[in-house]
C-alpha cells in the first residue's frame, strides 16, 4: 500500500535486521526452547522490516512467545486468502494487520474472532477510532498502526504555512497541487465534507456524496498531478515543481529533517488519519497468545517505541504516552483527525470509483 515506505527502509533498519537475524542464528537453542508461538501478518516492505527489527524481538523477550512474521500482499489479496483458508479451517496467520476497509469486509463473513476487552489492560485508553466493532458491539479488531495524510507545502514557494484544507480550492494555487489519484486512498471526499459541509456525516446520503463531488470538482484546475506513485510527488514537492498537496506526515517530516524545503501542516479541519487493525482469524486456535500480543502492543511504552522507530501515530490517548511534545508532533497531532468513511468503500466502492474517475478524467 504505501510503496514509498518500502524504499524508505533506512540503512539503519537493514543493519538492525541483519544483526537480529545473525543473533537468532547464533542462538538456536533459545529459539527451540520457546514452545509458544504466534504467526503475525504484517504489510510487506517497510512495516514488516521495522517490526521484525524493533518490535517483535521486544515482544518475544517480554512474553517468551516467538513471532513468525508473514509478509502480507497489498490490497485485498490477503483478506481473500484468509477467507478461503478459514473455510478450510486453516490460518496462514493468526493475527493480521488489516486495513479498515478489509476489516469491515471480513466482519461481513464473521472472519474475525471477537477480542475480549478484559484481557487488554489499556483498552479504556485506546482512542475510539482504534476499536473496530461488530454491529452488535463485539470487538473485531484493535488499532495496529496509524498514520496521517496532511497538507504539505514547499517552504520556498509558501513562506507561510496554509491553515486550512480550503487552500486547495484557492484560485491563487492554479496548477500547483499534487493529490492522490484514487477515491479510496486520497480521502478527498471526506476532506471536502469536513471543510465545507460541516463534517463527514454529510456523506451519509447519495445527495451528500454528489454534492461533495461537485465541490471537489472545483479543485481540478488547481491540480497539476494526480499521483499513484508517491516518489513522483515527493520529488516534485522537494524541488518546488509542485509546491502544495496532500502527503504522508511522517515522511514529509523526515524529508524536512534531511534539509529539504518542505513542511507538513495539520489544517484546522484536521489531518486525514488512516490506519490498520490487528484482527484474529477465526481459524486460529492461538486465541490466548493473540490477546497477549494485542495487550503488549497497546501498552504506552510500545506505542511510544513504534512512534519513535516505525513512525506510526499512537493508538492511545496523548496523556498516557511517554512521548515528548516533539516526538508526538513528528507522528501525530491533537487536532481532531478526519477519519475516512470506510463504510462507504465497502458498500458503494464501485459507484464512488466510477464517479471519481469520471470527475478527474472528464
Amino acid at each position: 500500500m504505501r510503496k514509498l515506505h518500502e524504499t524508505r527502509l533506512s540503512r539503519r533498519a537493514v543493519l538492525a535486521a541483519g544483526v537480529a537475524g545473525a543473533g537468532t542464528l547464533a542462538m538456536p537453542s533459545i529459539l527451540r526452547a520457546q514452545d509458544r508461538s504466534l504467526k503475525v501478518g504484517v504489510y510487506g516492505g517497510y512495516f514488516k522490516d521495522s517490526f521484525d527489527a524493533n518490535i517483535f524481538p521486544e515482544f518475544t523477550k517480554a512474553t517468551g512467545i516467538a513471532v513468525e512474521s508473514v509478509a502480507e500482499p497489498t490490497g485485498e489479496a490477503w483478506l481473500v486468502q484468509l477467507q478461503q483458508a478459514a473455510r478450510a479451517g486453516q490460518a496462514p496467520a493468526d493475527l493480521s494487520m488489516m486495513s479498515q476497509t478489509s476489516t469491515l469486509k471480513g466482519q461481513e463473513t464473521e472472519l474475525w474472532t471477537p477480542l475480549d476487552p478484559g484481557k487488554i489492560r489499556n483498552f479504556d485508553d485506546l482512542l475510539p477510532q482504534f476499536v473496530a466493532k461488530y454491529p452488535d458491539g463485539r470487538v473485531a479488531g484493535i488499532g495496529a498502526v496509524a498514520w496521517y495524510i496532511t497538507l504539505v507545502t514547499n517552504t520556498d514557494v509558501y513562506p507561510e504555512a496554509p491553515e486550512s484544507w480550503a487552500a486547495l480550492w484557492d484560485p491563487a494555487n492554479r496548477d500547483r497541487l499534487g493529490l492522490l489519484a484514487l477515491v479510496s486512498n486520497s480521502f478527498l471526499l471526506e476532506v471536502t465534507a469536513k471543510t465545507f459541509m460541516g463534517g463527514t456525516d454529510a456523506l451519509d446520503t447519495e445527495e451528500g456524496q454528489l454534492a461533495a463531488f461537485e465541490k471537489l470538482a472545483e479543485v481540478k484546475p488547481n491540480v497539476r498531478l494526480w499521483y499513484r506513485d508517491e516518489a513522483q510527488f515527493e520529488q516534485a514537492l522537494k524541488s518546488g515543481e509542485i509546491p502544495m498537496g496532500q502527503y504522508y506526515h511522517d515522511v514529509t517530516g523526515l524529508a524536512a529533517a534531511d534539509g529539504f524545503p518542505v513542511r507538513s501542516t495539520f489544517p484546522k479541519e484536521g489531518g486525514i488519519q488512516d490506519s490498520g487493525n490487528w484482527v484474529l482469524s477465526r481459524a486460529s486456535d492461538k486465541v490466548e497468545e493473540a490477546h497477549i500480543f494485542v495487550d503488549f502492543m497497546s501498552q504506552p511504552e510500545i506505542q511510544g517505541l513504534m512512534s519513535r522507530k516505525v513512525g506510526t501515530a499512537p493508538t492511545l490517548k496523548r496523556d498516557k504516552l511517554d512521548l515528548t511534545d516533539e516526538e508526538f508532533a513528528a507522528v501525530s497531532s491533537e487536532i481532531e483527525p478526519i477519519i475516512p468513511r470506510y463504510d462507504l468503500y465497502t458498500s458503494k466502492s464501485d459507484w464512488l470509483n466510477q464517479k471519481w474517475t469520471e470527475m478527474i478524467v472528464g
Binding site: 489519484a181 479510496s184 486512498n185 498531478l225 516534485a236 524541488s239 465497502t346 470509483n353 466510477q354 478524467v361
Partner: protein, 287 residues
C-alpha cells in the same frame, strides 16, 4: 533449394516447443482472462464464477468510449511518428559504414534496457521547470524564463515515441539492410532525384515491412500505462491506466478483464483492417 513438405509426425516435432510455449504463456492466460470477464463482481469480496454481461455493459458508455478512442488515437500517432522518423533513419543507417552501424545499433539497443519507469522519470525531469531543458534555452538566451513542459499531451507523446523508436528501428533494419541497392541505382540512372527515388522506389518496395512495423508499434503503444500517468494529465490516461486501476486498486478483476478483452478485440479488428487494405496489392514476398 526446394523444401520438402513435412510428411510424418516427426517432421512436425520441432513445432512442439513453440506450440507448448504459446499454449502455456498465451492461450491459457488469455482464456482465463476471457472467463474472468464474465464472472460476477462481488463488491467487498472478490469475484464468483458465473456468466454475467454486467462487466461489458458497464464498459459500454460514452465515458469509456472516449477513453478507448483516445488510447487508439494515441497509439496510431505513436506508430506513425515512429515509422516516419525510424524509416528514413534506418535507411540512412544501412548506407553508413559497418563500424558506424554497429555503434548506432549498440546505442539503440541500450535504450531498450531502460524500463518504462526510468524513461518516465527521466523525461519528467527533462520537462520540469526547475531542472529541465528550458533552463538550457534560458541560458543561451532563447527563452525569458524556464517553464514546465509537462504534464501534457506533447510530453506523453514524446515519452512514448522515445520508448517505441528503438523497436521500430530494430524491426525495420533487417529488411532495409537486405534491400537491393540496384533498385535505386536504376532509378537514378533513369533520372530520378534521390528524394524521388526514396519515395517512389524504396518506400513502395518496403510497403509490407512498413505496414508490419506500424502494427507492431501500434500494439506496443496500446499497452503503455505508466508514461501517460507520469507525463500526462488525467485526460491523457489511456484505457490501460484504467484497467490497472480496476485490477490492482479496486480488486475488480472481472471489469478489468472485460476492458482488456475489449481492447484486444478492437486492436485485432484494426490490425485485420490494416492487413486487408495493405495486403490487396501484395505481389512479391521475401525469399
Amino acid at each position: 533449394m526446394r523444401r520438402e513438405p513435412p510428411r510424418t509426425l516427426a517432421d512436425y516435432a520441432p513445432l512442439a516447443f513453440p506450440a507448448i510455449m504459446l499454449v502455456v504463456f498465451f492461450v491459457i492466460p488469455f482464456s482465463t482472462m476471457i472467463a474472468v470477464s464474465f464472472f460476477r463482481r462481488q463488491q467487498g469480496g472478490f469475484y464468483t464464477p458465473d456468466f454475467v454481461l454486467d462487466n461489458y455493459a458497464r464498459f459500454l458508455s460514452a465515458f469509456f468510449g472516449g477513453v478507448l478512442g483516445f488510447s487508439l488515437m494515441l497509439a496510431v500517432m505513436v506508430a506513425v511518428i515512429c515509422v516516419s522518423i525510424g524509416f528514413p533513419f534506418t535507411y540512412l543507417l544501412t548506407k553508413a559504414s559497418r563500424r558506424a552501424q554497429i555503434v548506432w545499433l549498440v546505442c539503440i539497443l541500450s535504450v531498450l534496457s531502460l524500463s518504462e519507469v526510468i524513461i518516465g522519470f527521466a523525461w519528467s525531469t527533462l520537462f520540469s521547470r526547475t531542472a529541465g531543458i528550458t533552463n538550457l534555452l534560458v541560458a543561451v538566451g532563447l527563452m525569458a524564463e524556464p517553464r514546465a513542459l509537462l504534464p501534457g499531451f506533447g510530453a506523453v507523446l514524446t515519452g512514448m515515441v522515445y520508448q517505441a523508436l528503438p523497436y521500430t528501428i530494430l524491426v525495420l533494419y533487417p529488411s532495409l539492410v537486405r534491400l537491393d541497392p540496384t533498385l535505386l541505382e536504376a532509378a537514378r540512372t533513369l533520372g530520378a532525384s534521390p528524394l524521388r527515388g526514396f519515395f517512389n522506389i524504396i518506400v513502395p518496395a518496403q510497403r509490407n515491412t512498413i505496414v508490419a512495423t506500424l502494427i507492431m508499434v501500434f500494439v506496443f503503444a496500446l499497452g503503455c500505462y505508466l508514461l501517460p500517468q507520469i507525463l500526462g494529465r488525467p485526460q491523457h490516461w489511456t484505457l490501460s491506466v484504467l484497467i490497472t486501476d480496476q485490477a490492482i486498486y479496486q480488486s475488480n478483476m472481472p471489469f478489468a478483464a472485460a476492458m482488456a478483452v475489449f481492447l484486444v478485440l478492437i486492436s485485432l479488428a484494426l490490425v485485420g483492417l490494416t492487413l486487408l487494405i495493405g495486403g490487396t496489392g501484395r505481389q512479391h514476398h521475401d525469399a
